[in-house]
């Protein structure tokens, strides 16, 4: 079985304007729309396209989170994943623990490819893919914008500050995906019905020998400093004057 494992994290929807709690313990998540992390959705779409090209047999979606994260895994199944696993916990699971959980699942599932988002848009850590590749002692490609699967190896293009970098990786490997890799498909109603019958297994942190997942202490969460509103100028001459006064031109 040629299997691709994909990470699916439940996060605050990217359209929500996030507000910090008045007691500074975190951000408000009650009554807020939750979605699949957009980068994970791109990872899943890529896995489905690889399968549709006949280069994989099964796409396995893995989530770590609360019971409600089943909703996002059902969406993943409706998009086309074949089955799903939820590692259920109400705790905040740091990236190294995520990597350790995936590492153990890899032993059982033997994927030839693990596709993950380059970061989750809540914590913005951007660590789990690289950590997993390290624990697995396998290649990593971070921020991929193009993936070509070959025989026992893959050629990937990744986005770097200098432009684009092309790497060749032996498989199995871990890849994290960037925005421009693809545009995820929309889910159709019949697929949502079909997804209800697909297998979704639930495990616990204890199944992975992990109990206390949090490594770092959250001291506090604050809103970002606000910029002062500036001045309006009426034409180019005034703009140039204002810039000269600030010594900028």
């Amino acid at each position: 079985m040629r299997r691709i494992m994909v990470g699916v994290k439940r996060v605050v929807d990217y359209n929500v304007r996030v507000r910090v709690r008045p007691d500074n313990t975190g951000v408000v998540t009650e009554g807020v729309k939750m979605s699949i992390n957009p980068f994970d959705e791109i990872a899943l779409e890529e896995a489905l396209r690889i399968k549709e090209k006949g280069l994989a047999d099964e796409v396995l979606a893995v989530g770590i989170g609360p019971a409600d994260a089943q909703q996002q895994l059902r969406t993943a199944l409706a998009m086309g994943a074949d089955r799903a696993i939820l590692v259920q916990t109400d705790a905040s699971v740091p990236p190294l623990s995520v990597a350790r959980i995936f590492r153990q699942l890899i032993d059982k599932e033997q994927p030839f490819l693990v596709l993950l988002g380059k970061q989750a848009i809540d914590d913005d850590n951007g660590q789990a893919p690289q950590m997993l590749a390290a624990l697995w002692d396998r290649p990593q490609a971070v921020s991929c914008s193009k993936i070509e699967i070959g025989d026992g190896k893959a050629t990937v293009t990744r986005e770097v500050d200098a432009g684009l970098e092309v790497l060749e990786l032996d498989l199995p490997a871990v890849m994290s995906v960037d925005l421009r890799l693809n545009e995820p498909r929309y889910v159709k109603l019949p697929d949502i019905m079909k997804a209800k019958k697909k297998p979704l297994d639930t495990l616990t942190l204890g199944d992975f020998g992990l109990t206390d997942a949090a490594a770092f202490k959250t001291v506090r969460v604050d809103p970002p400093p606000q910029r002062q509103k500036g001045i309006m100028v009426k034409d180019v001459a005034e703009l140039v004057d204002a810039l000269k006064k600030k010594g900028l031109v």
């Binding site: 789990a128 690289q130 684009l164 490594a215 100028v233 001459a237 204002a242």
Partner: protein, 314 residues
């Protein structure tokens, strides 16, 4: 006392300015010694540049033909080995550091602090979450090695004038061959680098086309500025994606940022928050960019930008 190792970013010939920003961040941890690690095929040029930065204790150079390209899978085991005895290991939060440092942290069996924007103590840091819409103060356990990436836009470059000793080191670890560099392509423009430029002229979707974007390049060249773009302009295909400024592109902190025809979506503003002066030019006076701009001008950018270019010349 803290002993901090900084992984240098470079292209084989020149030290990237991000390294100096990391040194600046590390120096805010009181009573620390700061060493710089250069991993390269031939590290002599880069090492002497690192040695000239004030505050550097010594520069360690690990030379190996396999280090000719910065492959995380190749560099990480060397960094992890050489990290022995250090309390902190820092790298820049650039695509180089984001690729490498989590792999180092996992090899050391510790978590990582991503994107340090402020130092609160030797084990306590501020970092942005939710695309910069919240700031998290996080504390690393006192007995853990602190592996972190430094948000370069949040720190000034360290001063020059150092004269650190340069020491060759051999981590003596076996390196994987499963990851191979093929090529790198960049649009060589002759303009300043977007990430480190003092002035940036950026355009948005309102430019309308790749052709329309020409007025942005002309103004940037007149000002000696780098060119940037909003995600909308990149997605519309007006410019290459390495020009994208914002949470999902580059996070920058120039002295002057000119946002032209950019509405100011949250994810774009995250990328320019630390700019010293933001100038917004937009035909929509209600655009959110004006909320954050220091100087705003409402009007037709196709008239304003050429006029600005002309007036700046006189």
């Amino acid at each position: 006392m803290s002993k901090i190792l900084i992984v240098a970013e470079h292209d084989g010939a020149r030290l990237n300015p991000s390294t100096s920003k990391c040194i600046s961040c590390a120096s805010q941890i009181g009573g620390s010694t700061i060493d710089v690690l250069v991993l390269a095929a031939d590290g002599s040029a880069v090492a002497s540049q690192a040695a000239e930065i004030a505050g550097v204790g010594k520069v360690l150079v690990a030379e190996n033909a396999a280090n000719v390209e910065p492959l995380a899978a190749v560099l990480a085991p060397q960094v992890a080995k050489l990290a022995a005895g250090y309390t902190h290991v820092f790298g820049p939060s650039t695509t180089f550091g984001k690729d490498l440092m989590p792999r180092v942290a996992a090899l050391l069996g510790v978590g990582q602090v991503s994107d340090i924007m402020a130092v609160e103590g030797s084990h306590s840091f501020k970092r942005p979450i939710y695309a910069g819409n919240a700031v998290l103060t996080v504390e690393v356990p006192a007995d853990a090695v602190v592996v972190a990436t430094v948000r370069v836009a949040s720190f000034a470059a360290a001063a020059q004038g150092g004269n650190a000793a340069i020491e060759k080191v051999d981590p003596g670890v076996s390196l994987p061959a499963h990851t191979r560099f093929v090529s790198r392509s960049s649009a060589a423009t002759g303009r300043p680098d977007l990430q480190s430029a003092a002035r940036v002229v950026a355009g948005g979707r309102a430019l309308g086309s790749a052709d329309g974007f020409k007025i942005i390049y002309a103004l940037a060249d007149k000002m000696g500025a780098a060119v940037g773009a909003s995600r909308a302009a990149v997605d519309a295909g007006y410019v290459a994606n390495d020009l994208q400024v914002g949470q999902t592109g580059k996070i920058i902190a120039p002295e002057l940022y000119l946002a032209i025809g950019i509405s100011g979506a949250i994810q774009h503003m995250t990328g320019i928050k630390d700019a010293r002066t933001i100038v917004a030019i937009n035909k929509d006076g209600e655009a959110p960019i004006f909320e954050a701009a220091d100087i705003g001008l409402v009007g037709d950018l196709f008239a304003i930008v050429p006029e600005l270019e002309k007036q700046l010349g006189s």
